[in-house]
Symmetry: D2
Subunit: 261 residues, 4 copies
């Protein structure tokens, strides 16, 4: 799956990074200022937020999309944001390169069907209460309508263990690779819910065979309007990428095509 | 919560029954022919179906809604159907009295927000991967927009136990009653996935304090286009209601207001 | 299964009650003083305690067994206690009528095998991480050795829902009844972990077809050395039994054989 | 933790391998003939088997222990077997270097207490229904009695996902490392239940920071008396070790001390 200069499912492991929510031009600027040349290939930023409580910060919506597009152009990077409805989808298509379907929307079949009628690449996260078979079936809602541009994303499932927000199910990576031809990435940030666990889990994800990583970053996690607890600082992100580069080489993959095996 | 002549959350336990999917006029007729006077108060019928696989029967959509409305008028009964998107909602509002948000849509916040702007009664099922706190928060998406007409429905959660499709969490009934003022009913059909378990679970639901039951019925479960395995026959439904009437009286409730304590 | 004057699996629903832990003669006396004639048939009391932390109260052991036996004789009641090893079993056999295998020991196959070589009635609780099939298999470890005197006890399984300590899986009652000929009771106290939920769950257990209930009671729950939060007072126990008597009659069972249908 | 020439929790990643069950001298011989020099450091072999059904193969018991000891001496390797009771422990202590407490025995507190009174190294597997906090508490049952020689082993937890037997929770590795000073290894064989998943999961375990791996091997998995489906062939084991060696170096660890970084 090629998206501009990015080739999902190739030898290259694709790093997607950015803030949980787009909060302001300054926040995007501060958070992404070291992205160029760091190994990050795609800029993420939440603009329509799916929050458990209706009293939480809901995202900057179209204003956030404009900021995300501006930042993407400045960094010369592909961008991605999540949508939860066809109405949001129509707006987001004007601004971003990849549409994310979040964990809470994996079973939103009308949305999946609408995405199937487009050619836009779709990042389909696993529902946290959904098994692998249902996840594959959800991807078929998109494929059956004619859109083959799908990337899956493991982000943890709900279990009795509450030391982490969710239990990252890394077994899903080789299973998905055996059963489908789709690229699959891992989001350790939402699974762990704790920045200390993200680097080890990212390395495990690379080792198990993931085609990419999605990492939440914020220049000042303590001030983040959402998910600060699980956001890395730009400096921690650099450490993550440096360590993952070594693991990538050990499994015959690369994060930066210039890296030698 | 009053819906026509029905009073949710009162001493009366409200029975909702009908086929998983509306399949034809004949199927509705055969399935519901003994409903009048049986204790059933609301006619359910799926018209927009939320199916795991895109290759499954997807419901008759507006044609099904017309049949459901026709059957409801004939039976002089309130009707309910599920919708998964705002587009489906707009169509369904022309035909039914109550809108159901299914388990897979509990986190569909744009849909909940749209429902909050109406006055239509909403039956909000629990997400099968969602905890009680998230479920209450989902109800607030509707309430905060101004629509107080909400009924919750416990339908089982996903656990490691696979002897049943889902594990019916009857503890949620007294917890919801303690934490909210909302009426709450139980759907034993989807939880059990097996018609033999439905009568005992329905009796347990009444005993634990549920304000109603939602039961899938089909005149010929073996020929059902969806969920036949968990559908009761009209005769089994009669048995269920007869047995639940006795349990209802034992907990100072009634299914049929004519029943004496 | 007859144990003295008690007939498990008959029309009668057997109430087992008593403190989580035997703490002192006074505590047993105060807790059980209204048991005679109340509907309670069996006196429970923990003497070898299975505690998550090695720093918790571990039970009075043989001293507790002596107190339990004394109280049982005074009340003219059958007694039950839990053991976790063959060594504890040998001691307990001198004092109690029924041996309980706790949830954490359901897979303790050497203990089950040892119990199979005796004739003592065994109450086998479901492992909180174990499915119904494994539970039935555990009972076969006892049966295959020649001891048919088994009572199963549903006490909740571990799920992602943390509003309760465990999720009481009442579907297991009709499933066990369909698949085995064994009597099965319900322990709502450990599942709920909250005394407010116990009465509604006990009524649900009776309605779903359980052959008995096991309830933790303490004359002063706030001072209990273990599980105070989920213990009923003697007064709450009376309320539970009164309400369950009505539900029992509604499902053609009785708690007290004198009760009329 | 030093066991003979083996240093758990050091830079070296310790490979434990061997058959699920010791079946015969020939089976041990065939299975282990390439172990010397391969990177395997410890020979495992089940002799007292913990089986769900009492009709399954229960292990060769003391006869198996003799064969295991013989094989260990021949290979000049440390040996490990699982026990489920104090009686089995007393026998096993005559033959093996490390005692394993299996997942089903993690809450067997009398057994843990008995092990605490010895100095024998204990491999304590996580209960498949137990959270991390309970697992740490179980280790304290051993430590509090005076035995500090403990290795923890993550082997998967029970979740709703049934594409694997259990869900390997690799987040537990960094969490255990943060909260305790104990070495921790990973058993991907029991978690996956499928030999195709074991190599990728083993690599992930090394990348996430595990101090060792425990792998089931059989010279002819199709003929294995237990767990054949998840057993690697000796050839697959070699591939696993070769690939894990590279990942080990990428995270500044080694499997074979001769390997250069």
């Amino acid at each position: 799956l090629k998206i501009k200069n990015i080739d999902f499912g190739s030898r290259e492991i694709i790093i997607i990074a950015g803030p949980c929510s787009v909060e302001s031009r300054e926040q995007l600027l501060e958070t992404t200022k070291d992205f160029v040349g760091s190994g990050v290939k795609i800029l993420r930023g939440g603009t329509f937020k799916s929050r458990t409580s209706p009293n939480s910060f809901m995202g900057l919506k179209e204003k956030g999309l404009k900021l995300l597009k501006e930042a993407g152009e400045k960094l010369n990077m592909v961008t991605i944001t999540e949508v939860m409805s066809q109405e949001q989808l129509e707006i987001a298509l004007n601004y971003v390169d990849i549409i994310q379907v979040g964990s809470r929307s994996m079973h939103n079949y009308p949305l999946l069907t609408a995405l199937g009628k487009l050619k836009v690449p779709v990042l389909l996260k696993r529902g946290f209460g959904s098994n692998i078979e249902e996840w594959i079936n959800a991807s078929r809602y998109i494929q059956n309508e004619g859109n083959p541009n799908i990337i899956l994303c493991e982000r943890g499932i709900r279990t009795f263990e509450h030391a982490t927000r969710f239990t990252l199910d890394l077994s899903s990576i080789p299973i998905i690779k055996n059963r489908t031809g789709l690229p699959i990435i891992v989001d350790p940030s939402h699974a762990a819910g704790d920045s200390e666990l993200i680097i080890p889990l990212a390395k495990a994800a690379v080792a198990v065979g993931a085609d990419g990583l999605m990492i939440e970053v914020h220049f000042d996690p303590d001030s983040a309007l959402s998910d600060g607890k699980q956001s890395l600082t730009p400096k921690q992100l650099k450490k993550l990428i440096d360590e993952c580069k070594k693991v990538a080489l050990a499994v015959d993959r690369v994060i930066d095509p210039q890296d030698k095996t």
